[in-house]
Symmetry: C2
Subunit: 188 residues, 2 copies
DNA sequence: TTGCAAACTTACTTATTAGTAAGTATATTT
DNA sequence: AAATATACTTACTAATAAGTAAGTTTGCAA
C-alpha cells in the first residue's frame, strides 16, 4: 500500500481524535504532509470516504488485538487489563477514542461512516460482554449486573473519562481505571 | 428579556446537543425562527458568544435545580435519582447533555466557552461528589471508592451512555440507569 | 522508444460559513 | 412633534470548505 495513503489515514485519525470530525479539513492534512489538497482527494474522493476508511482501519486493529490475546491464551483479567491500557495510553496522548470522537457527530456523518461506527461499537461491546461473562463463570470477575449492562457501564466510563479528563484538571486517570478493575475483583 | 433571544439560546442548545457545535450554523437557527442571519448576530455578535451564553444558561439551570432540591430537603438518594432523570429525559429526546456535546470540541472552541464548560463540569462533579460523600456518611449509599472517583465514574457513564445509545440499538437505558443506582444500595 | 499507469499538482468551481455596515420600521421617551 | 432606542433586514465581504477537471512528472512495461 501507498505510504502517503497510510499517512493520511494516520493523520486523519489523530485529527478526529483531537479536534473532531467537523473541525478538521483536508488542508490540515495536506499542509502537515507537505502535499496538495487534491492529493488527498486522489486517495479519498470524499471526506466521508476518509472517515469510513479510518473507522474500518480501527475495527481491523481491534480485531487483531483481541484475536492475538485469545490465541496467546490471555485469561479474562489479563485481557481486560490490556484493553484498559488502550485508554490510559489515549489519556497520556490527550486523545479520545474513535467511538468517543465520532459518536457525537453521527448526525453529520454519512450513512456509510455511521454504519461502520455502529459496527465498531457493537464489536467492542460484544467482546467486552463475552469477556466479562466468561470471566465471571471462571470466578475471575464478580459483578451483579447482566454482562451486557456491565460492559456498557465500563465502556461508557472509559470513553467519557477521556473527555472529562480534558475538562476537569485534577483527575487521576490511573486511580480511575484501577477503580474499574478493583470493582470487578471477587470478594475473598 | 427578549423572546427572540431566548428562542435563539434554546434552539442553539438543541442544535449543539443533536448535531454538535461545529456542525450547526446561524442559518440553522435563522431559518427555523423565520428571521435573518444578521438578527442572531444582533443578539450574539459571534458564535463563540452564543456558545458561551448557552453554557452559562445551563450552569444557572443546574444550580437552580440543586438549590431547589436542597431547600426542599430532598435526601441524597432522592437527589441522585432526580439528577439521573435529566439523562433519561435526554435519552428519550435523543439528545446528549451540554458537557457531552461540547466536550469533544474543546479544541475548536473559544477560551471563554472552554472556561465556562470547565466551570460547568466542575460544578456538576463537585455537587455529585458532595452528594455521594454525605449520602454514604448517612448510610444511604455504599461504595468502596473515593467519592470523587465514584462521582467521576457515574458522571462518565451517564454522559457516554447518551452517546452510546445512539450507536448501539439494543440498549435498555432504564436498566442501565437502574444499575447505577442499584450499585449504590447498601447491603442488607 | 513508445505507451501507460500511478501519484500527484495546478487551477479552478461551488457552497457555506461567520461576520459587518448601513439602512428601516416600530414603539417609546422627551 | 422630534429624538432616540430596539429589533431587526438588506446587502454585502472575506475566508474556508469540499470537490473536480485537466495537466504533469516519474517509473515501468511492451
Amino acid at each position: 500500500m501507498s505510504i502517503t495513503r497510510e499517512k493520511i489515514i494516520e493523520l486523519g485519525e489523530n485529527l478526529i481524535r483531537t479536534k473532531g470530525y467537523n473541525a478538521f479539513s483536508y488542508q490540515d492534512i495536506s499542509s502537515e504532509l507537505g502535499i496538495k489538497n487534491a492529493a488527498i482527494h486522489y486517495y479519498f474522493p470524499s471526506k466521508e470516504n476518509l472517515g469510513t476508511s479510518i473507522v474500518k482501519t480501527n475495527i481491523q486493529r481491534f480485531e487483531e488485538m483481541t484475536g492475538n490475546m485469545q490465541s496467546r491464551g490471555f485469561d479474562e483479567w489479563h485481557q481486560l487489563e490490556t484493553f484498559i491500557k488502550i485508554y490510559t495510553k489515549s489519556h497520556r496522548e490527550q486523545k479520545r477514542c474513535i467511538v468517543g470522537s465520532l459518536g457525537p457527530d453521527i448526525n453529520s456523518l454519512s450513512e456509510q461512516t455511521v454504519a461502520e461506527l455502529k459496527r465498531m461499537s457493537e464489536i467492542i461491546l460484544k467482546w467486552l460482554t463475552d469477556t466479562l461473562a466468561s470471566g465471571r463463570e471462571k470466578g475471575i470477575f464478580a459483578f451483579k449486573e447482566e454482562p451486557q449492562i456491565k460492559a456498557l457501564l465500563i465502556l461508557s466510563s472509559l470513553i467519557a473519562s477521556l473527555q472529562m479528563a480534558r475538562l476537569v484538571d485534577k483527575i487521576e486517570y490511573k486511580s480511575f481505571c484501577n477503580a474499574i478493575l478493583e470493582d470487578l475483583k471477587p470478594a475473598e
